[in-house]
Every structure is written in structure tokens, then in C-alpha cells.
Symmetry: C2
Subunit: 293 residues, 2 copies
């Protein structure tokens, strides 16, 4: 997926937020903002992929601030908060009567993880609201290929699960558990280094993902989404060995749609921005469970 | 007033909006966005004045799109809508019992003009709501030097009134009328060419400003705020001949505070952004009637 003109705003908006999170030194902030504007001037063209530009933006900010992880505290808060929701979400999944219904509920919980901003201080949602959140996730499911994804899961022997954000990764545990119940081997991959608020190995460990998944690996890179040329050989070996991918979030829409996919990839996400919504031909603020074959 | 780091976001945000208003040609949109990012990379530094950078941004967009007035339709809509409010606002002013109270009410109506976004389609405010809007403008008046401004008006023989946006300029007529009632000669100045949604001579004529003011002139330039080095000799002659300036909106805060002022200048505005609010040491979303001596 390529950028739309309005992506420029968002790329800079997030960048300025990150700069002010990463350093309090005002003159350094200006220096980085100017460098970031220069990077965008060079990279922002109709052939650009938003996740690629976002990755370069984050690398520039991390390098210039000497702050390897501007979102560290935000990610910790998100994990803590999401873990409070987990038992309530698990209850919802386990209350379903069939593997198929449990799988559907776990997909919706995993999407709720993508919808929620766990790091907002004074979050207005209480854990008891999870039922309503899942119901709303269902109501907002503009592309509903959960049944097709379930069929693909049943056929798969080995599945790679690509996570998105910290916080969200706690709720992903339920879906990873359901994938295993259906019978597949499940490898979960987090990012190889900090980039925006994406989950890394630290987050996977914090939420106890290794107790559910058969293996937890990293992409070997701090890139948003999947950029095979930047991934580690170890990751690519795993990627080449599975027969199904489940991928969370917009970064994977942006990047997987740039690749020639050799086997099925399922996308689970919320369309948080207009360009991704346009690309998927649905409204902004809707949910997606889509199987790309 | 200098930029804060977060001004980068707003400068680009408005720019992208203007680009998409000014042309539908997608490849041209990208070309301009990239050029704008390059301009910002060069000009965005701690010594920059937001209005100066905004002026250069708008000139670049107008030049590259060959569209001299991207806000033309928005300005027309705003004028039409604001004129509907005018008789209701006039009633409020005329109902006051003394020149001082009428002046205060006219200042508040003029600030309401700066607060309202007249161009939003399906605007939720009805003309009958004007009383409530003026009351809220009063409640939000975080810097209230209306009395000091009134004293300065009483002493002035010749006043220059610097307008801000189209739409808003319709409500400015009430304040110009009150200034004249107190006894001064009043010259109103609009911008010399289109820039954002600032009022130009076309807007002044549309709302009938020449029937109230002693003269309506332009700054002789399409710059945001006041940049004397870019103004026409005619404007500077008038500026040099008055003993009080009333200036509307944030663009004049940004630019007048960069000048050595030789006589009193009064500011009437809403703090629509955080950097201007910080500069005035009040909250964002508050109103200001401030006399700079």
C-alpha cells in the first residue's frame, strides 16, 4: 500500500510527539524536527509505503536523541493495563460452546486489543466493560472473514502470528491459545527492536506469551510491519516454514500488500486512519478480519 | 513570538489541507507536499515566527497550484453565514445602556467572530444563539483589558483596525461602529492578497465595511499578520499616522510581538493553539482583550 497525500501530516504528527517524548532538550528537538522534515521531503512521494517512511522516521529520532526506546514507559503502562483486562476477556472466550465460536470471540478480543489505547491515563473503560467492547468490535466488523480464517487455521500445521502493539499483545494470548487448541504449532513474532509502541521481546515476556506459544521469536529488525529484506535469517527461515500467517494492525496491511504472498495471510485490525480505510475500501474506524490468499 | 516544536505539525497540517483544496491533481499534490516539507525543513528553527513560515507556505502552494485563492469558496460561505448573525449581535450591543458597555459588548461580538468557524457545513449554531455565544466569550475572557482599551480609544483621534478572517469581518463592523461613536476616525485594513482564510478587500466589500469605516485599505501584501517590510507604502503611511491599533487574531500576536511598537496596540483573539496560549501565559481555547503599550 502506498501513501496518500494526507499521510504526510500523520507521519510528522507522530514524529513531533516522539521527539518531545524522547528528549526535553528544546534546541535538540528543533534540530531533529528539521532533520525529520528533510527526510520526509526526500522520501514522501506517491511510490512510498507509509510503514517504510515511519520506520526511517523512528530510526532518525532514536539516533539523534540517543534514546533507543521513546515509548518505553507508554508500553509498560499499556501492558499493565491490558493484563487487567485479560481474565475478563478469557472468560468471554471460554464461555463459548464450540471451537469455532471460541475462535471468533478470541479474534474479536484480539481486535479489541488493536482498538484500545491502553496507555491513555485515566482510561475510561473498566475491565467489566469488556463484554461491551467485544460486542462493539463485532458491530464494527466491516470485513468479516473469520469463518474463512478459521478454515485456513484448521488446515494449517504451523502458524506464524505477527503482533502489533504492546498492551494489545496481552489479549493476543487468547487467540494464540485458540490456534493451538485447533491443533497447529504457533510461533509468535514480535519486533526485533523498539519502533513506535510495537511489542518487542520485553513485552512478550512481560505478558507471558512464551507460556502459550510454541516459540516466541523476533523479526530481527526494528521495522514497522514486514520488510523481508531487513529481517533476520532466523525469522525468514520460520516465515518460510509456516503455512499460514496471522498479522495484527495497520503496519502489516501497509507492508504485506507490497509483497507477493506465497501462502495465506490473515489480517486483524482496526482502520485507524483514512488511507488504510480507503485501501481496504471501507470506512475509517471499522474492524477487519481478512484472509489474503 | 517564535515557533514551538509543535508548530511544525500545524504548519504542515494546514498546508496539506490547502493543497487538497487547491488542486485535485494527485501527482501535483505530492509534488507540492514534498516542496512544502523542503521549505519547512529549511525554515523551521527556534528563531522562526509562525506567521512568517505560514505566509511562505501559502505562497508556495498558490504558486505551484496556480490557484491564487484556495479558500475562496470557504470565505464566501463564512461571510454569508456571519452576516446572518450580524443583526442579532447588533441588537445585543445596542441594548446596552452606556458607551462603555456597548464597547465591551462589541468587543465580545468581535471575539465571537474570531472563535466561530463559520465555514463548517451544517453549523450547529443558530443566529438566536448569539446571546449565549457572547456570554461564553465573556466567561472565557482570560485576559480582560477591555476597560484599558476603552480608555485608549477615548484618547485616540485616529485608529487602525486590522482584521483577521473572512466571516469574522462581518461582526467586526459593530466594533468599528462603536469606535466611531466614541469619536475617533477609523481606518480598517484587510490583507492585500489571499492568504489562508484572511479577509481581503472582496470580503470587506461583501460585508459593507466601507459604509461604517472612514476608509478601508489593504496591507498591500498577502502576508499573515503584520510584516512592515512587506507592506505597501500607502499602508505604512496610514500605520504611521494613527495613535492606536486594534488587531484581531493570532497572526497579529505572532507578528506584532516581534516589532518595537511606538504606540498602543490592542489584541482581540481566541487562543486557538497551544503555542500562542503559552506565549500569552493562559490556557488554550481562551479569549484575550489585551492592550500592549
Amino acid at each position: 500500500m502506498k501513501v496518500e497525500v494526507e499521510c504526510a501530516r500523520c507521519l510528522l504528527h507522530r514524529g513531533v510527539f516522539e521527539i518531545t517524548e524522547a528528549t526535553n532538550d528544546s534546541s535538540l528537538q528543533f534540530e531533529i524536527a528539521s532533520a525529520l522534515l528533510g527526510l520526509l521531503a526526500k522520501e514522501f512521494k506517491p511510490t512510498a509505503v507509509p510503514a517504510y517512511v515511519g520506520t526511517e522516521r523512528d530510526r532518525l529520532i532514536k539516533r539523534m536523541t540517543d534514546n533507543a526506546d521513546p515509548y518505553a514507559e507508554i508500553k509498560r503502562r499499556s501492558n499493565r493495563k491490558a493484563l487487567e483486562f485479560l481474565p475478563f476477556a478469557r472468560e468471554l472466550v471460554l464461555n463459548e460452546s464450540s471451537p469455532e465460536l471460541r475462535f471468533r470471540k478470541a479474534c474479536l478480543c484480539s481486535i479489541v486489543g488493536n482498538v484500545m489505547e491502553f496507555d491513555i491515563p485515566g482510561h475510561t473503560f473498566r475491565c467489566e466493560d469488556i463484554g461491551g467492547l467485544v460486542q462493539r468490535a463485532e458491530d464494527d466488523l466491516a470485513i468479516d472473514e473469520v469463518a474463512e480464517i478459521f478454515d485456513a487455521v484448521k488446515k494449517a500445521r504451523r502458524i506464524l502470528y505477527l503482533t502489533d502493539n504492546a498492551g494489545e499483545i496481552a489479549l493476543d494470548k487468547l487467540l494464540v491459545g485458540e490456534l493451538k487448541t485447533v491443533g497447529a504449532q504457533v510461533i509468535v513474532a514480535v519486533k526485533g527492536g523498539p519502533v513506535i509502541n510495537d511489542a518487542t521481546m520485553e513485552d512478550a515476556k512481560y505478558v507471558g506469551m512464551e507460556k502459550i506459544a510454541d516459540d516466541v521469536i523476533t523479526t530481527g529488525t526494528d521495522a514497522v510491519g514486514l520488510m523481508p529484506e531487513q529481517c533476520s535469517r532466523e525469522f525468514l527461515n520460520v516465515y518460510g516454514s509456516v503455512d499460514l500467517v496471522l498479522a495484527k494492525g495497520m503496519g502489516y496491511v501497509e507492508t504485506l500488500t507490497e509483497l507477493d504472498l506465497a501462502f495465506p495471510h490473515a489480517l486483524l485490525l482496526r482502520t485507524k486512519c483514512q488511507p488504510v480505510a480507503n485501501f481496504l475500501e471501507i470506512e475509517r474506524g471499522k474492524n477487519v478480519a481478512k484472509l489474503m490468499l
